[in-house]
Point group: C2
Chain length 132, copies 2
């Protein structure tokens, strides 16, 4: 803040209105979907509305409890909708809101990156561990 690098106006692939690091709300994003399951729920719902049990089966390893918690959080933050149909047996459908549309692309970019970087990272980790 005080004297942080007088000539860092160029941000590396920075257009004109590049945000400076200090007002980067990345932590807020991570607070929303940075937990263990929320992102996966969103990805899954990207394929269209899902019912509770459908999600539970689709997302490997998630517990009933954590699915509920994640869904409630996402719903509370306006990222998904919860629709209850007055049927018997009960039927509840979850779907993403329009808010999510705009992150789908960057999120998929991250996934793509992960597929490419995965092996490289594994190698780096192995190298790091075998030093010392």
């Amino acid at each position: 803040m005080s004297q942080r690098n007088t000539v860092v106006t160029d941000q590396l692939t920075a257009p004109a209105d590049a945000p400076s690091p200090e007002d980067c709300p990345l932590p807020e994003v991570l607070a929303l979907i940075g937990d263990k399951w929320s992102a996966q729920v969103l990805v899954q719902l990207g394929g269209g509305p899902h019912r509770f049990t459908q999600l539970e089966r689709a997302i490997e390893g998630i517990s009933r409890r954590m699915l509920t918690v994640s869904l409630r959080n996402l719903e509370r933050n306006g990222l998904i909708t919860r629709t209850v149909y007055p049927d018997a047996p009960p039927r509840v459908e979850y779907a993403t809101t329009s808010l999510v549309e705009d992150i789908r692309a960057p999120l998929e970019a991250l996934s793509t990156w992960a597929r490419h970087a995965g092996p490289v990272i594994a190698a780096a980790r192995h190298a790091y561990d075998n030093r010392r």
Copy 2:
């Protein structure tokens, strides 16, 4: 899995080789930079190499310990380099590797989204809490 929606081949803004949700390595990405500080460190280093204390001052609220931990993890995974200059007093510089180049864009996209979505989300949250 069993009967999950036979016609979800269209992924919403999906090109030709859209990855299906089940092999989406988003969790891996989050395991890398999904913690409280790593992403911010990367963002900060996006503005060029930084020294330890420089980072400590730039990243509001981070403790010496967590900065160390985050840096070690990032280094271990090959996302940043650590260069020690044999000076007195000690001087260590951290910089991002080329691996990081390709996520900078999506990461900034997420930040931009957050700036736009922030108020909407706050409103949604308020509405949700004031129901019931």
